[in-house]
Amino acid sequence: MNEQPETVFHSASALGAQVDTLFLALLGITGTAALAVAATVVAFTIRYRAGSKVNRNDPPVRAPWVEVSWTVLPLLIFMGVFAWSSAVFSQFYRAPSNAVRIHVLAKQWMWKLEHANGKREIDELHVPLGVPIELTMTSEDAIHSFYIPAFRVKQDVLPARYTSLWFTATRVGRFNLFCAEFCGTDHSRMHGAVVVMPPAQFAQWLASGPIEPDLVTRGARIYRDYGCSGCHEPKSTVHAPGLIDLYGSVVHLSDGATAVADDNYLRDSILLPKKQVPAGFEPTMPSFQGQLDEDDLAALLAYLRSMPGATR
């Protein structure tokens, strides 16, 4: 693993460059402040050492102007740094809409990554240069943290919640990927690499490799294997809600409320059918909790999304 050694001031992502300039500014401010205090202490210690012949009468005990200035000046500087860092920080949460979505699943001591076309990787992430990438992450067990030092990005990955992180790589090469939140015995072995490739080479890599069925075909297979088609096919005898052009539509529930059939609603209906029962149906659907793991669920959801007429 010949990852490029990290350098302090040369990040490899668009947002990272802004973080580096802020880091440099802070280094400058705090450096001068520390040197100023140290120089003053050393100067006073030498000049006013015991026994030196120097004017010592009535040492000042209060100096209102000095005290006010050394309170207000740091306050102004801090507020400036605060505003600047908040501006940069808010960009971490504003992923561009055309970002390439990659699904990340963190489990105890490995990263499982899955591209939109179903290509899966473990502990390695191939991304194209200059294209904004958005990672949708969740964890299967303890809290992990997806951390790429070279891109200056880090985001905790929580169980029971999706968290997201986005970046735009600006340099080709292999970069370290670490887990930054203590997650158990092999926390320090849960590292990997992010490989940035020119877009053409990336597209070719994406298409190559073991031809795995993409998400939608795998989803269709699961849809049949687990018997969903038995009830939800239009011609089935069982009275079950139709799934054609369900994704994105508004569903009227039995208790009068309405819900948008988005990822969360579909996932809920699969794992907790009795939670939001559509109007006019009995809660007879069995729960698939514990039988479908995360990958199958992602595939099934992709298939339901791809049903004809489903709004993208």
């Binding site: 990290e6 880091f23 802070l26 209060r62 860092s85 808010s90 939140e181 926390h187």
Partner: protein, 551 residues
């Protein structure tokens, strides 16, 4: 022993009130309880230090050469738990605070002596629980006990460790409660609030934080233990629990806890620097307001530990603003200490070396805190060695240096004998050098992206880790020195006069070591807290040069 020495020694003092074990273990004298605390926290300090030494040796090589992953996790957890709750939090309040606060305010005793002794027993009971945890195989969740790892996925004895920390929390609550009531109700006549020494102010503010923050930790730990036993709890993600809710509860205690550790150290520095600069402290009122401001704002900033934990962006920005505000009082205090040196006549005795070391290292620690308060930079730096270096600069560079400085400054008063000055200066310098060599490389490691709590790391970080391990060796030697010569001074040091440093303050106006009821005649007259201007040059330094004093 020469005649004057024996004359000095047979004066009644709290040390010679009884030699039996019973007289020490059932004492209600705040001075003896201070010594009981001093010995127990020194024991825990070297236990935690041993864990740190093994960690530093393991980290000299990228691979796993010394210990396996599980043991390494248990080592850094033991280092964290022992150092935070069993050394740093009780270090200055329970030893120097217990001994000096009644003396400094002219009282004979703390408000609730029995509660003071109970506090030490509760501390020891908590210590026994943690020792049992170590023997029974340790706990590998880190001192932060983050759920759901600590409640669902860690199979080390978390419940035992949690009960130990729960119990020791009450020992600091009892001490805090004692100090608040003592300072409010038992001040000598004439000792108004703005004549209190800054050491008493610092410990008073610390006690406020302890009393209001520790119970929240106690309940959080109860909830963790409950969840581990019944396997169902409010942090369990499968029952609608939110791991970030735990982090809110934990850091609501743990950030004020770092102010519990550093405020007493500020108090010690504010006592030592004016004494050895032979002039009153600069801006006494500003210092007291800064202490109280740190105590109050310290409660509002805990969210800066959770910028990347999935906390909402708006909350992170609010916490970032408040974290910048809490840095202002600390900056004001550093400027005031520096200004206290102006127009003084500075003697670089060992307490002064420790105090100036404290000011220097605390400044670096505080300034690097700004990197972590700025949200955008914190995204890169949190959970890396940058954070490890930051809090070690504040806790080890700040609290431990000030604790050693305080120990040296008041050692003549505590044991009635002087310590060898040259050895003390060697120890001070070696600790300062060793410390910087250990922790400054970790700032660089952190900004290069080495995550914390890593048993094995990428090979490119090895060189800086080797520097750090080398520094840890030098620092370890530096810490063993005071243990040796202070014990030697306790037994066979030269008898100390009542006021060896010619310092101002009520504690120096009684004999050293002081009698059981603190002051022979009625409590002495109370003047301005730091009236060094008028007194003669330091009798301690003037009368004897360090070399001449060696017996």
């Amino acid at each position: 022993m020469s005649t004057d020495e024996s004359k000095v020694l047979d004066r009644p003092s709290y040390l010679r009130d009884g030699y039996t074990l019973r007289s020490w273990l059932l004492t209600r004298d705040h001075k003896r309880i201070a010594l009981l605390y001093m010995f127990s926290i020194t024991g825990f300090f070297f236990l935690g230090g041993a864990a740190a030494t093994i960690i530093r040796i393991e980290l000299m090589t990228p691979g796993a050469d010394l210990v396996d992953a599980r043991t390494y996790n248990e080592l850094f957890t033991a280092h964290g738990v022992i150092m935070v709750w069993f050394f740093l939090i009780p270090s200055i309040p329970a030893t120097l605070g217990n001994f000096l606060i009644p003396l400094m305010i002219g009282a004979q005793e703390v408000a609730f002596p029995r509660l003071n002794l109970a506090s030490w027993y509760v501390y020891t009971l908590g210590g026994i629980f943690v020792l049992i945890t170590l023997i029974a195989g340790g706990v590998d969740t880190g001192w932060t006990f983050y759920t759901p790892f600590s409640t669902l996925f860690s199979n080390s004895n978390v419940v035992l460790a949690v009960v130990g920390v729960f119990i020791v929390g009450f020992s600091s609550i009892f001490t805090g409660l004692n100090f608040i009531v003592t300072v409010h109700r038992l001040r000598a006549p004439g000792m108004t609030w703005f004549r209190l020494p800054l050491f008493v102010w610092a410990n008073y503010a610390t006690s406020l934080i302890v009393v209001l923050a520790t119970p929240v930790l106690a309940m959080t730990l109860v909830l963790i233990a409950f969840e581990r036993i019944t396997h169902v709890g409010i942090f369990d993600p499968s029952l609608g629990g939110d791991p970030i809710f735990f982090q809110h509860l934990f850091w609501f205690y743990s950030h004020p806890a770092v102010y519990i550790m550093v405020l007493p150290a500020m108090g010690v520095a504010s006592e030592i620097i004016p004494c050895f600069a032979r002039r009153p402290v600069f801006g006494y009122r500003a210092m007291t307001y800064a202490i109280m401001a740190i105590a109050v704002i310290g409660f509002l900033v805990w969210g800066h530990h959770m910028f990347v934990s999935g906390q909402s962006m708006y909350a992170s920005i609010v916490f970032s603003l408040l974290s910048f505000l809490v840095a202002i009082p600390s900056a004001v205090k550093v400027f005031n200490w520096t200004a206290t040196l102006y127009k003084g006549s500075i003697a670089l005795s060992s307490p002064m070396l420790y105090a100036l070391g404290f000011v220097g290292l605390f400044t670096i620690g505080g300034l690097t805190g700004l990197f972590l308060a700025a949200t955008a930079v914190d995204v890169h730096l949190t959970d890396t060695y940058f954070v490890v270096a930051h809090f070690h600069y504040i806790m080890v560079g700040g609290t431990v240096m000030a604790y050693l400085g305080g120990l040296h400054f008041w050692w003549p008063k505590i044991v009635g004998r002087m310590y060898p000055e040259t050895w003390a200066r060697i120890a001070a310098v070696s600790i300062f050098v060793g410390f910087n060599l250990t922790f400054f490389p970790q700032y660089i490691l952190g900004s290069l992206g080495m995550p914390r709590r890593y048993h094995t790391y990428a090979p490119q970080y090895q060189l800086l880790n080797d520097f750090s391990s080398l520094g840890a060796g030098v620092m370890a030697i530096g810490y063993v020195l005071p243990l040796a010569y202070l014990l030697y001074a306790m037994l066979r040091g030269q008898p100390a006069p009542p006021n060896p440093w010619n310092a101002a303050g009520l504690e120096w106006q009684t004999s050293s070591p002081p009698p059981q009821q603190n002051f022979d005649r009625t409590t002495p007259a109370v003047g301005e807290p730091y009236d060094y201007g008028r007194s003669t040059p330091a009798q301690g330094q003037g009368a004897r040069t360090p070399e001449g004093a060696q017996s």
